[in-house]
Symmetry: C2
Subunit: 438 residues, 2 copies
Amino acid sequence: MTNPLRIAPLKIGLAGLGTVGTGVIQLIEENRDLIARRAGRPIEISAVTARDRTKDRGVDLSAYRWVDDMGELATAGDVDVVVELVGGSDGPALTLARETLGNNRALVTANKAMIAHHGAELGALADSKNAPLKFEAAVAGGIPVIQGLRDGAAANRIERVYGILNGTCNFILSAMERDGRDFADVLADAQSKGYAEADPSFDIDGVDAAHKLSILASLSFGSKIDFAGVEVRGIRKILAADIAQAQALGYRIRLIGFAEIDGNNGNAQIFQRVHPCLVPLSHPLANVTGATNAVVAEGNYSGRLLFQGAGAGDRPTASAVVADLVDIARKETGPAFSVPTNELESLPRASAAHRIGQTYLRMLVADRAGVLAEIAAAMRDAGLSIESLIQREITDGSALISMVTHEGHEAAIDATLKTLSGSSCLLGEPMVMHILGE
Amino acid sequence: MTNPLRIAPLKIGLAGLGTVGTGVIQLIEENRDLIARRAGRPIEISAVTARDRTKDRGVDLSAYRWVDDMGELATAGDVDVVVELVGGSDGPALTLARETLGNNRALVTANKAMIAHHGAELGALADSKNAPLKFEAAVAGGIPVIQGLRDGAAANRIERVYGILNGTCNFILSAMERDGRDFADVLADAQSKGYAEADPSFDIDGVDAAHKLSILASLSFGSKIDFAGVEVRGIRKILAADIAQAQALGYRIRLIGFAEIDGNNGNAQIFQRVHPCLVPLSHPLANVTGATNAVVAEGNYSGRLLFQGAGAGDRPTASAVVADLVDIARKETGPAFSVPTNELESLPRASAAHRIGQTYLRMLVADRAGVLAEIAAAMRDAGLSIESLIQREITDGSALISMVTHEGHEAAIDATLKTLSGSSCLLGEPMVMHILGE
């Protein structure tokens, strides 16, 4: 048997030296020999680039050629694969991706925003240039879920894919749940500890989860990525009281990215939503706490598959980046989206209105006679019935009503809220959260 | 883009038409078009074989050539891949596997017993003949865990792999837990419903889980499969009282296959055990109920990865078989055990004696003065201290003592039991179960 350490290495050009970039360097150094044995050849970093050469990153860069112009990685003679860890949906990352693939060179990226926005273009370019495009690290950090969908579940018609896709939100919701604290309080704490960004809106408003969901949906359903079609709502408006009420009713609140195919061949539609949901305690996602991510895929033969692990962090994300490099070293790469990009279907968007399920409704109301009667009448007129309801006084003159409806069309929720809109009984915007089915 | 349906198909010879075999036929027919798109070429069954041609299996076999002599599949001109679903570690399955690979032909198998016993021989043969050998369906049914370890976690040194590997045992333990019933009662029920075999010993004595564990350990650690090195104990002796006591102490009982590398390069040893364990309620495996399987792999960069899904059944297992076929159609196959079989290390077996952990001990004792003193003295002399203990009278004259020790060496448990062995205070064999760390 030929010693894999003597076979020509796979040579890497690494763009971006933040925590993930330095994690990739450390991983490739620390696990060098076992990677070479498994990949059949060594994986070596040739060149690196980042904005600031002088910054101390805690890793020795002296063995690698420093490149000032990032674009050089796309053409350099000592680079087989460009690893893009620059970030941002457009700008330098996108330019580098286009130049790399355009030059028939493999690209590995952790850039979920870029794939969500430009995956169709980049996938088609990769296909036409026969250049591998890999992005395991773009979704759910260290969890090999892209591969699980592309390869492990390859025999299945996947009908539904959903999960906990943002570690920051799950960390905040778990902490609120554990300590009974309010959102703003936990967020400030998470920011001071580095678990949340100074500008946390991408995470807590659900945009990051929506990027990931749109990628998972495309891979699962063979549809064109449709990020703009994801209905998005974040976790800012969740109260400690919501979490307590949900718990009293047998649920935990999680930010769930959910995608599903409605209908069959010919008239299939795609539904994509990132929303805080009430998850029954018996569902595996209810037990996912902290920064952990988890993805469920339901195949027509496999049944329900669950992939769970660290959703972020330098080391887990580096693990996903290097898994892609191993695939490239082994030449085990095919179309980025499992089928050729130009065969991905453009599916019409399904509307939420006809979806059927249970819903959690919370309203801050005036604490006076007739309020409950007004709400109950609005629900009755919309054909919506109540499974359970808790009302409690909050302050003098105001009360909080939390309820879970029986199964009904989402349109009935909208109709109820429309009837109540502008009513003097409501003291604030109602909170609507859907309940994840078992 | 060339229509994949016009590219030469991957032609399958299918040996064994039990529930999994017919599941494979149904899957290949039902998902034909999407498989062809994802695999880049159609996957078609050419020939089938089984013991009894006349049996009604609920699927139409008329489109496939029937072969009376199974060995013909290894040489037939219209077969690219042999799918072996005959079962049994030796005999016809092994003969077919040797002939198939020996004839430079790809082999896909769901046969855990054959891989556990003959994986080294078959892997080396596959490598030398450049013939893919794939066995995703051999471990954990429809869960793509072989691929998760081989590819998804490829960049990691895996330090530990463990999980719930036998659906029958988990079904029985969950039912005992839910209904408070005894083992024999639940087993009889499971047998009548078809969830357990008429001869259930392979499942409930832990042999099936040990087959799977030995395969997972080899893939995870790059070590030669060592099925004989798996310490095995099944679930026959678990009482309803054990489950109740465990629950009172904050645990659930699960049959856990556990493998770990002790020590580093040069003096690494392998530890493999299938045992009923107490799993803390906060651990993801505690929430795995029914026939579900789940595997945890801990990598030095990925951290803890969890793969969960249906551990058995015709449709999930067929999903795994066809995933392997898709890999072969895509030519995304490498060495069966991730590294070439002749590079797998022969690791010495680590002894359990020096392992440190908490342990659950249950003894049926004579209900008279001095018994607890005798047991406590034996534990003290072995250096073992008690974290919690419950004693309750069972019948007139006998009592059940259940306890959880503080962390200690397993050797101390052995020493305690040795001291007590033959003592008149014990009315039966003590039950020892280790506690799975968080």
